[in-house]
Amino acid sequence: MKHISQPHPILDGVEKVSGRLDYLDDMQIGGMLHTKLVFSTVPHGRILHLETEAARQVAGVAYIFHHGNTPANTYNSTVWYEDQDEPEDERMFPMTVRHVGDRVAAVVAETPEAARKAAALIKVTYEELPAFLTCHSALDHDDRPRQEGGMHLAEELRFDYGRTDADFAQAELVVTSTITTPRTHHCALENHACVAMPESDGRILILSPCQSIFSVQMVTARALGVPAAQIRVIKTAIGGSFGGKAEPVLDPLCAHFAHVLQRPVGITLDRTETFTATRTRSGATGRIRTAVSRDGRILARDTDVRIDIGAYQTGGGFLPGAMSQRLCRLYDVPSQRYRGRAVLTNTVPSGAYRGYGSPQIHAISEINIDHTARALGMDPVAFRLKNLIEPGACDPLTGIHVGNARIRNCVEQGAECFDWQARRVPSDPSARFRRGVGMACATHINGCYPDFHEATTARLSLRPDGRLDLTCALHDLGCGSNTVLAQIIAEVLDVVPTDIVFSEVDSDICSYDLGTRASRMTYIVGEAVRRTTEKLKSRLLEIASLALNHAAVDVILEGGMFRTSGDSTQAISLAELFRWADSHGTALEAIESYRATANPGSYAAHFAEVEVDVLTGSVKVLDYLAVHDLGRALNRRLVEGQIQGGVQMGIGYALLEDISIDPATGAMKGDRFSRYHLVNAPQMPAVRTLLVERGEPTGPYGAKAVGEIATIPPAPAIVNAVSHALKRELTKLPITQDRIVASMR
């Protein structure tokens, strides 16, 4: 293969490293007004009075928006297709605010300074209402489901298969763990921003660093109460997202302001606003019981998870289901019971965040797996190998096949490469610095199949200059997905990846696609692009055979030239073929829609060595090995980049990151980088990667996803390693210095 599996550098690297690439906040948009939002300072309260007079007097203020003068349409910001029906509890500016950071008003002004000055003058009086800041207090107060008029229980999902009760009763050992995961923030380096402007035809154009232009279009249309066709959306360059920009938070407001004022309007949040007024990863507390036989077979498992989804439904209702699915695709568990509850609290809303429930549920289950192994006196690797699924296994709940699932290879090869046996030795209990090793496994999905909307359409056409135009709603979030797609096209047509020209991601140009989510970029969109390219290739060969006046079977495409086999003198280039076709009135393009037919699992096993200072509770990750079953790496360098970045985020999840809601005030304590620490360069170990490339038959060139799963196993692997070092069971994430020290007492 010429291009597949090659470490092609990211296509837009030069623009990025030279500072020339414009992100939204870098653009200069003529006549644009600036917005400053006013946010709730109480966790739950009815707005009694909004004093805006002083703010209105500030020179340069164009308009002040609030609940009294904006559409009261309710919506759910997670919606991404027409007619999608999710509980609608958001509105542009609610009358009753539900969390500190909820939107109260917006000042739109000629300059950012004027907007800021005026916003500071707005006075809000609330009638404070009881606030429920934890799942526990919320369910204590009211545990009726939302559909039955309950206040807090957004979604409940249960399943029970096999003979759970009987298996538990007969088990020789039952190990119970209760694990808590923190609320965390995506911390994409680019803050949230949006620009909207009126178009000459009366529509509103939105420029948004987003994960789905069609989601932006639909959510905005619902919020404004206009047909989706009234809204046009263009995706701009995006400075990281990780799910944080999957839900349009600012877009409906911005579009409305631009519509009312008939001027371009921009909103850029600062870092603290990005923390407190966008989306976060939900927190979860899971009580998990595992029944095993003495020889280490898992007989049954019972999991009860409460998920804190924050103040609004958004996509929180999907979490119990998403988590349940992960519990069924990793180990062969004969009987299993599950209850997952998504709970509304008076805290910042949650939303998509790299892994969508997987980091939480894997932290819960993989830490429990280690507890179980310890109770059995078994090595955690051996215990896992006794219970992991085999390729071709079937999800007992949905009946979906997990595909060429190579988790066993990951664990076996990883253990060998890491020298697990030799390193899994007890640490010296008298030493200050104690070493430990730990590991964890993970699975994740590839796309949304069997959901009906898991499909995409790509169009590829030959340009006059012999290069190729790819038109598709491709939301490259900075991971280099466009580079991989270009490699696929280059492979099929034997051109170079830089010959691919990507269309603007514009709702006026691209066919519908649900956007970058659910690890579907390479596996689904990649396959759609591959098929489209194959289709174009046949078409090109057919036309080339006419142009060359040769039987189609004899024509080959090589190095950008069409030749006839045997005759090296006769050749035409892609550009020449375009001219030939053009003069004959023939179009050279292909459109293909691809609908997913499977949802195989991606798999990973991560191994970590840590050193824990038992006096200060500081943890240093000394060595890290990430083993991934991704079918095939289409671009090893980009794959490694995903894994290394995922591990960094996962180490933060294990050790440092927590938005931490103040139980007294409901305010977020970790609302800026000086109070919410990310892992920085000196804190990161070198991450070794080992790829298991056994091919997934349904994926493009055998590929499966890696971007999300990369961040799933690190937290349990690190926690297990620390627990091993300390001979303690740490169960509350992040395992901060204080928690580690407390565990030593």
Binding site: I10, C187, L189, G239
Partner: protein
């Protein structure tokens, strides 16, 4: 801005704007700023040098890093008026006259040190600052020198490799 000259300083008339002279990437500019304007803001909004980003405005993320007299600083924590009389280099000043990348920038591209790219200009400037003072840093020195630059995408490994590649050159 006026510089006091002993013993009789010349006060700037009251008012919002102060005229200052800045030398950025070898070019001299005269700009009107408010006394409290951050350097990052003046570079981005007045000089349209948007390579430096404003990721946090509290000195924690490094996305606003520029060189002042060859030393990396957070341009969000320096007032524009403080930059008068000093040599400022932004990422835009690293590339050659025809836009060709510096060898360090090229190393970033080749090593896969760039994903979303939002941290990249600041990261490159921090690395450039390091190499100006220590052309042969080892890995711990590189990591220490980049501690003030957050990247949420790469895990830093490829960035460290890019800097190493540049030192090996």
């Amino acid at each position: 801005m006026d510089t006091l000259s002993a013993p009789h300083p010349i006060p700037v008339p009251d008012g919002t704007d102060t005229e200052i002279r800045l030398e950025v990437n070898g070019r001299k500019h005269v700009v009107n700023v408010e006394a409290g304007d951050r350097l990052s803001s003046v570079l981005r909004r007045q000089l349209r040098l948007t390579g430096a980003k404003e990721g946090c405005l509290e000195g924690e993320c490094g996305s606003c890093t520029v060189l002042v007299d060859d030393m990396p600083v957070n341009s969000c924590l320096m007032l524009a008026i403080q930059a008068e009389g000093r040599r400022i280099t932004t990422v835009e000043g690293l590339s050659g006259p025809d836009g060709e990348l510096s060898s360090l920038q090229q190393a970033f591209v080749d090593s896969g040190a760039i994903q979303c790219g939002y941290c990249t200009p600041g990261m490159v400037m921090a690395a450039q600052g390091l190499l100006l003072h220590n052309p042969n840093p080892d890995e711990p020195e590189i990591r220490y020198a980049l501690a003030g630059n957050l990247c949420r995408c790469t895990g830093f490994q490829t960035i460290v490799e890019a800097v190493k590649a540049e030192t090996a050159r």
